[in-house]
């Protein structure tokens, strides 16, 4: 008797690797969405700054639009730059 694998379908979900539990702006969990969205995941992504702080994309964009002059990270007050990996 011999058993060999012919094919296999692996099922997985994914989660964010964030350095915090909650979004520092909306205080919602990163596992859920920003207050405007309904579905977590691709529709409401997270973004990281070069300062390594992480927010819901919708939240940080809204925040940056409210800052007239210096676009700063709301957590560490460093100038905000998106960290493109």
């Amino acid at each position: 008797m011999k058993v060999t694998i012919k094919s296999w379908t692996g099922v997985a979900t994914w989660r964010w690797i964030a350095n915090d539990e909650n979004c520092g702006i909306c205080r919602m969990s990163f596992e859920s969405t920003c207050p405007e969205c309904a579905l977590p995941g691709d529709d409401c992504p997270l973004v990281w700054g070069v300062c390594s702080h992480c927010f819901h994309m919708h939240c940080i964009v809204k925040w940056l639009n409210l800052q007239p002059l210096n676009k700063q990270c709301p957590m560490c007050r460093q100038s905000w730059k998106f960290n493109v990996h």
């Binding site: 296999w8 099922v11 979900t13 579905l39 995941g41 691709d42």
Partner: protein, 852 residues
């Protein structure tokens, strides 16, 4: 004639009139009048009015005497008739003659209504017959005198009359002054006061119709002949109608003639049908009601209610046709009302009493007849009673049907849904055929369907009404219908014997049917939940029969009003599967040896709620692949980490033994268990050692092993156990031994096959060892949240709202998901108040106020 001009005024009338009077009498008798005589008459009247200052009044008086005399003669002729038909016939002949004359005779006398000279003399000599008539001409004269063209009134009036006479048609071109004057005169006369001013009516009428001479003729007829014999006339006419109703043929024209005389006799310009209505119509209605009052009772007694309905229906139609012959259109509605009263309303109860039996026996024709009859009854009393009967019948018949078949349908969702649909179609047909799909009956049907669908007496699922926080569990039974509907959907959408048997169109039709039933289900959230679970299985195992149809039904669900966020989630699931496919392609091209590996990456929020992850020790081959996949994914999506859901993973293994070579579809857990024997195929392995080898949690291992030793519907199991007499996975002990069935083979038609494919997955377990109870609890939990959410949504807009209105809106918002119970609403309101989302008004305990 010219000689006459020289004579003194008062002689002119005596001079001219006797000659003209002969022409008048000829006209009355309808003797031939030559053109010359006709013209002479115009001239004579004109001449007398012009030269004799009291001429108009004299002519009028004289004319009146002649008319009355003529009428008296006619009357004596009519009265002389004994037989009813003869009486009517004579009357009608006389009347027609007279009526025709009433159109012509007034023409030469138009001068009378215009001449101002009539005024003093006529008021002075208004001696006998008709005070009102002479009064009318008085006021007519007065009005004409007041009009601006008084100086030329004589001349212009005369010429108008002449042309009108020549053309014999009504001279509509007469000066507006004369028209308004004459109508004013008529109106004044109608109101019965001879000396009223001319300010009543301004409506334009045919000048001949309003002429005082015509009025004089009609009024005289009315007074001298009609008044005396109208009762005889009516009676005779009604006798004819009565005879006709009894089936004897008579000359219908007699009745028509009488009616015409009633209508034409009216000189009341405001209400032409006054005399007709007060006499003829009333008599007709009375006779009709009396006739059918007797007949209907007789019919019903002799032939029974069912035959009576037919009788009533045919009589109603018959009478409508008859009414068209004998009555003025204005009478139709009151006649119908009278008939309905006598024929239907008076028998309402006995007719309605037949309804339940007719519905029971599907007597669509008779029901349709009954419906048509009842629909005529005002205020819908009868229809309402019928609706009630229908509703009760569908409910009781539907439930009885379900109950009688309960053994089959509680087990088999296909049978259940098909039975339900059959029932629905049967009753929909009934409503269509018997009640013409009348909206009222459709509503009654829908209410009854709802009751049947949501009934809990045949089968139910128990839902805890509140999360058991005080250790007390209440259960509110709910119909299992939504669950069975979802199961049926699954059978249609998955590759099953059922879906293979049906064509694509048939499947579409059945899916539509499911949605139809779903419309009546109160708790749609249960359906959605099960539908999603089934969809998850189909997508992960790739067992959809038709992926296009899968997406179609999502759109259909959107169309029937399923909540948008729910439908969006379903759409998201399809998207995930597509994204995963792309990902697979990329993965395989990046590392060529992994073509057996397939990954499905799901968005956690969109899919059926998965339970906590279960650890398992994978076969070495797979274990090697995992890091490759994770690495690949990390490169594609930074900031993300994969979490494996091995209880949903599955695969195909090739199982080779002495008999043959078999492809087995298995879950990853089954795979892990079977691989334990790969190195030691003849060993017996204890439960305890299998647990150590697979690292599966106890409940999962038990379940997986059970699926391998006792998979339903296969002759030879792949694993055997010792002792063999274990009847449930709970009875596995630590030292229960398991070993590979070396005899394993796929058996088909009693023969062992050398090759073959077998699916050992069965129903993919989406959740781990969570009991149904907990599953249901999550439904309730979700309902609680939805209710709270909806209350807050409403209160945010309304700010203040009383209890009843709030409940109404709440049910409206939630109705596409579930029907919130009063108890739950109350509990959630209390919770929201306790947590300061809202408060009660200090003065009114039923008023809620939103607290920001």
């Amino acid at each position: 004639m010219l000689r006459a001009i020289g004579k003194r005024d008062r002689d002119i009338f005596e001079e001219v009139w006797p000659d003209k009077r002969r022409i008048v009498l000829k006209l009355l008798r309808q003797d031939t009048v030559s053109q010359r005589e006709w013209q002479d008459l115009f001239f004579g009247v004109h001449f007398v009015c012009l030269w004799d200052e009291k001429g108009a009044a004299k002519i009028y008086d004289c004319l009146q005497q002649d008319i009355v005399e003529f009428i008296v003669q006619a009357q004596s002729q009519v009265q002389a008739q004994r037989g009813e038909q003869a009486l009517l016939a004579t009357y009608i002949v006389e009347w027609r003659k007279f009526f025709t004359q009433s159109n012509y005779l007034p023409l030469p006398f138009r001068q009378l209504e215009q001449s101002p000279q009539v005024k003093p003399s006529s008021s002075g000599s208004s001696s006998s017959a008709s005070v009102s008539a002479s009064g009318a001409s008085t006021s007519a004269a007065a009005a004409a005198a007041a009009s601006s063209c008084s100086g030329q009134a004589g001349k212009s009036g005369g010429s108008t009359s002449a042309t009108a006479g020549a053309s014999t048609s009504a001279a509509a071109a007469a000066a507006s002054t004369s028209a308004s004057t004459s109508s004013a005169a008529a109106a004044a006369a109608a109101s019965g006061s001879g000396s009223t001013s001319s300010s009543t009516s301004t409506s334009k009428k045919n000048p001949t119709e309003d002429s005082p001479v015509r009025k004089l003729m009609l009024d005289s007829w009315n007074k001298h002949i009609f008044h005396d014999i109208k009762h005889r006339l009516q009676e005779s006419a009604m006798k004819i109608v009565h005879a006709e109703r009894n089936g004897d043929a008579y000359d219908a024209q007699l009745v028509v003639g009488v009616r015409e005389s009633y209508v034409n006799l009216s000189s009341n310009a405001e209400d032409k049908l006054e005399i007709y209505r007060e006499n003829f119509e009333m008599a007709y209605l009375k006779a009709t009601a009396e006739f059918y009052r007797l007949k209907s009772a007789e019919q019903q007694q002799e032939n029974g209610v069912l035959a009576y309905m037919k009788y009533a229906d045919s009589k109603l139609r018959e009478e409508e046709v008859r009414a068209k012959r004998y009555l003025e259109p204005s009478s139709f509605s009151i006649l119908t009302y009278t008939l309905v009263k006598v024929l239907i309303v008076d028998h309402l109860n006995s007719i309605i009493a037949e309804c339940p039996a007719l519905i029971r026996d599907y007597e669509t024709e008779r029901l349709n007849l009954m419906f048509r009859l009842m629909d005529r009854v005002m205020h819908g009393v009868g229809v309402e009673a019928m609706m009630g009967d229908l509703q009760r019948h569908i409910m009781s018949a539907g439930l009885a049907d379900m109950l009688s078949a309960s053994e089959v349908i509680t087990q088999d969702s296909e049978k259940y849904v098909e039975r339900l649909l059959e029932l629905f179609n049967k009753f929909s047909d009934l409503v269509r055929n018997a009640f013409n799909d009348d909206p009222r009956f459709l509503t009654a049907r829908d209410i009854a369907f709802k009751t049947v669908v949501n009934d809990t007496s045949v089968f139910k699922m128990e839902l805890p009404t509140s999360i058991a926080n005080r250790g007390v569990k209440y259960t509110a039974p709910e119909s299992k219908c939504p669950e069975l509907l979802a199961n049926y959907c699954d059978m249609l959408l998955r590759r099953t014997p059922l879906s293979k048997r049906l064509t694509s169109e048939q499947i579409d039709a059945r899916l539509r049917d499911v949605l139809l039933v779903l419309k009546y289900v109160n708790n749609k959230d249960v359906f959605m939940r099960y539908h999603k679970v089934h969809l998850t299985r189909r997508l992960i195992l790739g067992t959809s029969a038709d992926s296009e149809k899968e997406e179609d039904i999502v759109e259909w669900l959107r169309e029937v009003g399923m909540p948008a966020d729910y439908v969006n989630r379903l759409a998201r699931m399809f998207q995930d599967i597509k994204v995963s496919e792309d990902l697979n392609t990329q993965f395989r091209t990046s590392i060529s040896r992994h073509d057996a590996i397939n990954i499905k990456i799901l968005n956690a929020g969109a899919w059926a709620r998965c339970s906590e992850r279960v650890s398992v020790s994978l076969p070495i081959e797979l274990e090697d692949y995992i890091p490759d996949v994770e690495e690949f994914y990390k490169k594609k999506h930074s900031g993300r980490k994969l979490q494996w859901y091995h209880h949903m993973s599955n695969g195909t293994i090739t199982f080779v033994n002495n008999f043959g070579r078999y492809d087995l579809d298995v879950t990853t857990f089954q795979m892990a268990v079977l691989f334990a024997w790969n190195q030691r195929q003849h060993d017996k392995i204890s439960y305890e050692n299998l647990r150590l080898a697979t690292e599966l949690p106890d409940p999962e291992l038990r379940r997986t092993l059970w699926s391998l030793v006792a998979f339903p519907k296969i002759k030879k199991q792949i694993l055997l156990m010792e002792p063999a007499a274990i009847s449930s996975p709970k009875d596995f002990a630590e030292n229960t031994m398991f070993y590979i069935n070396q005899e394993f083979a796929i058996v088909k038609n009693g023969k062992s096959q050398r090759r073959g494919k077998l699916n050992l997955i069965g129903r993919l377990q989406l959740s781990t060892e969570r009991s149904q109870q907990e599953d249901n609890q999550s439904i309730v939990q979700l309902r609680i949240l939805r209710t709270q959410e909806a209350i807050i949504k409403i209160m945010k807009v309304r700010k203040r709202m009383n209890n009843a209105a709030l409940q109404g809106e709440l049910i409206d918002i939630l109705k596409n998901m579930f029907l919130p119970s009063k108890k739950m609403i109350k509990e959630q309101l209390e919770w929201l108040i306790e947590n300061k989302y809202m408060r009660r008004d200090d003065d009114d305990i039923n008023m809620f106020i939103y607290v920001a």
